[in-house]
């Protein structure tokens, strides 16, 4: 029992990761690759040197934020599949401000991030409003909003931000998150200050959810709308607020790409997948702020490391997708793992 309470939240993911890697190794063996070489490549690809570490952190940054976005909505009983679209508009807005305004960094950078946040929030507001006022299912609306974001932002890049170009000019350095010293420290990886923002956002999410009356209300509405109304909470307001905040997190994720990684925005021919990966990150992190950070880091490392596998070990990158999927499965099936642990414990005694 004690063991359940204290360690299960950590033990289950760890076991899941190990199992996922184990099965991944078996798949490599079956397909005729050397799993040791494969994993060595994976490791080197993620943590081999300062550069890859930098890139791993960079890749983790937006994942933390989209993970938080989805986790936040989940905590209040809403499923935000729309992080994808919120990322795109957040990216767009932050770059827009990054290009369109001249101001000292101390104003410009926060303003650009804020713009991303607001754009994402706006994109979350629509499904939130529709859900709260008309009871329209947020899942459909957010899916639709993803496509709208994609096409609208492409059009804006093409017709408003540029004269029919595929990407915008670079943002002013006063709006940039990248830092020379960080990059040179990591052999010119694209790691940027965004990671601090992401971790700060996680802290905010934790604080908001666990420590404030806002979080108390949001969770309460998520669990039981009737009782929340009975207790005097404004259910509609909370649904809208939840989607808005969730969208805000995703919007900041977009800003990380716009102000940190790329410094511009390009025409997108498909989704960034940051939003969809965020679902997995959120659930892997069991919708807790700290869990999300860890899960995003795991995801980021695996995905970053994957790039090395074809070159060094000949293993297709997709193996990593399979491994990630397996890990998610094992986490989802924690019940059975827990059962196995219990049995194991009993026999051990």
């Amino acid at each position: 029992m004690i063991f359940n309470k204290k360690f299960a939240p950590l033990l289950i993911p760890v076991i899941s990761v190990l199992l996922g890697l184990l099965v991944g190794g078996i798949i490599m063996l079956i397909s005729g690759y050397n799993p040791i070489a494969g994993y060595q490549a994976l490791w080197l690809g993620a943590f081999g040197d300062a550069f890859t570490i930098g890139e791993t952190i960079r890749r983790t940054t937006p994942l933390i934020l989209t993970g938080l976005a989805i986790a936040f909505a989940f905590r209040s009983g809403l499923f935000n599949i729309g992080a994808e679209g919120q990322v795109i508009v957040g990216w767009l807005a932050s770059v827009w401000v990054g290009i369109g305004i001249e101001a000292p960094m101390i104003i410009h950078l926060p303003l650009a991030i804020l713009a991303g946040m607001l754009a994402g929030a706006l994109w979350g507001l629509v499904p939130g409003l529709l859900k709260a006022t008309l009871g329209v299912h947020e899942v459909i609306v957010t899916i639709m909003m993803n496509y709208i974001a994609l096409y609208v932002s492409n059009e804006i890049i093409r017709s408003v931000l540029t004269d029919h170009a595929t990407k915008t000019e670079q943002i002013a350095s006063s709006a940039s998150l990248s830092a020379e010293w960080l990059q040179s420290l990591t052999m010119y990886s694209r790691v940027h200050y965004g990671i601090l923002i992401a971790i700060f956002a996680a802290a905010i999410m934790w604080f908001l959810i666990e420590r404030t009356t806002i979080g108390y209300e949001l969770k309460s509405v998520g669990y039981n709308q009737f009782a929340s109304r009975y207790a005097g909470m404004n259910v509609k307001k909370n649904i809208i607020l939840s989607m808005v905040i969730s969208g805000g997190f995703a919007g900041v994720a977009g800003a990380m790409e716009g102000l940190g990684t790329y410094g511009n925005i390009h025409l997108m021919s498909g989704f960034t997948n940051l939003g969809f990966d965020g679902i997995a990150v959120a659930l892997l992190g069991s919708n807790h702020a700290l869990g999300v950070v860890i899960a995003a880091f795991l995801f980021g490392s695996l995905k970053e490391g994957a790039g090395q596998m074809p070159t060094s070990a000949g293993v297709p990158i997709e193996l990593v997708d399979i491994i990630i999927a397996l890990i998610i499965f094992f986490v989802a099936s924690s019940y059975i793992i827990r059962l196995a642990i219990l049995r194991f414990k009993k026999e051990g005694k």
Binding site: G45, F51, T52, E55, R58, R59, Y151, N154, R158, H164, A165, T166, K167, Q170, M187, Y188, S189, R190, T261, Y262, G263, N264, H266, L267, S269, G270, T272, N273, E304, G307, Q308, P310, T311, I317
Partner: protein
């Protein structure tokens, strides 16, 4: 700017030529995309094999699954000591530029866009020339005087195809109508099919696509129509490489021709130059008909009649002679059409 003080970029000069190695980083799609990633890889492989090298040993590629993969991939190649690294596709422009600035000792090449610096070379193609020629072919072939153009994403690069195609078609017959549609996606076959369905329904009999995977839907629709009525004249014009195979339907083939972009030729040429110590640093090389890097496929002998081929040849001559300037933007196209 860093490039300013890196004029010592030819550190490779002293290197033994046998140490020379080449790598490429794909854009999203991979080396087997049946498109220019594949073509580029074929060029590099050909170059490598010519010099007795093998994959992973003298030449290699890194595949990108998302834009964020470009930098790590390029960096990996830098780290592994490749002498010349290509970024395939305009999407890699910024990243190639940045890494070129950071690594003045390594040669970089970008395909389909322009970067700056003494250690870089930019390889672009005159797609408008090829598009012009397939436009000519289409104009010769059409029975309805209605042509279609399906673009992937509305962007300057794809606009080149569009402008060239329309110019070519109208040069033969100014009354020809060209229906232009963009799918806003390079991988949405269902949209491609829907657009093709709509175009063929409205009387278009030849569609030129510059839309990657979206083009699959165009081929699919054309073949379906052909299957229903083998007598009906329905054509697709392929892009980037000879898409003859995609057009095969039973006895018939709906691929009229393809606008072939020989990335392999360009990539191989530049690799050879670099190896020979003649790296065209800082230059922007534009490959076109003249360099044999743009061509019009004639695999479908039945469809590409003597007459058509001759006409195409005629225009090709004019282009090579510099008699005509092919428009590659919508504005230039307007002017060109006015001048007709």
């Amino acid at each position: 700017d860093e490039t300013a003080d890196t004029d010592n970029s030819n550190a490779n000069e002293g290197e033994d030529s046998s140490d020379f190695s080449v790598a490429m980083v794909t854009d999203i799609g991979g080396v087997d995309d049946k498109s220019f990633n594949q073509s580029a890889w074929e060029g590099i492989s050909a170059w490598g094999e010519e010099h007795g090298l093998s994959k992973g040993n003298g030449f290699d590629y890194a595949q990108s699954n998302a834009p964020e993969d470009y930098v790590p991939n390029i960096t990996r190649m830098v780290r592994e000591g490749y002498s010349l690294i290509y970024g395939i596709g305009f999407e890699l422009k910024e990243d190639i530029q940045n890494l070129a600035n950071q690594n003045p000792d390594v040669y970089f090449g970008i395909v389909d866009d322009v970067v700056e610096g003494d250690n870089t070379v930019s390889i672009t193609f005159k797609e408008h020339e090829g598009s012009f020629l397939v436009g000519v072919a289409a104009a010769m072939k059409t029975e309805t005087n209605k042509l279609g153009f399906v673009g992937g994403i509305d962007s300057p690069l794809i606009n080149k195809f569009e402008a060239g195609f329309i110019a070519g078609a109208k040069s033969i017959n100014p009354d020809i109508e060209v229906d232009v549609q963009y799918a806003e996606h390079f991988g949405d076959a269902s949209k491609g099919k829907m657009i093709a369905n709509d175009m063929y329904n409205s009387g278009v009999d030849i569609i030129y696509h510059a839309a990657g995977g979206t083009g699959n839907g165009v081929f699919n629709e054309a073949k379906d129509l052909k299957n229903a009525d083998p007598e009906r004249a329905i054509w697709v014009i392929g892009v980037d490489r000879d898409q003859h195979d995609e057009g095969q339907i039973g006895e018939h083939n709906v691929t009229l021709t393809s606008m072939v972009k020989r990335v392999d030729v360009a990539v191989q040429d530049v690799a050879q130059l670099a190896m020979d110590g003649e790296f065209p640093g800082g230059e922007q090389l534009e490959f076109g008909l003249e360099e044999n890097a743009i061509s019009v496929a004639t695999t479908n002998e039945e469809a590409m009649t003597e007459e058509i081929i001759n006409e195409v040849k005629k225009w090709e001559e004019s282009i090579l002679n510099g008699d005509i300037e092919i428009p590659y933007t919508r504005e230039a196209l307007e002017e060109y059409l006015d001048s007709l």
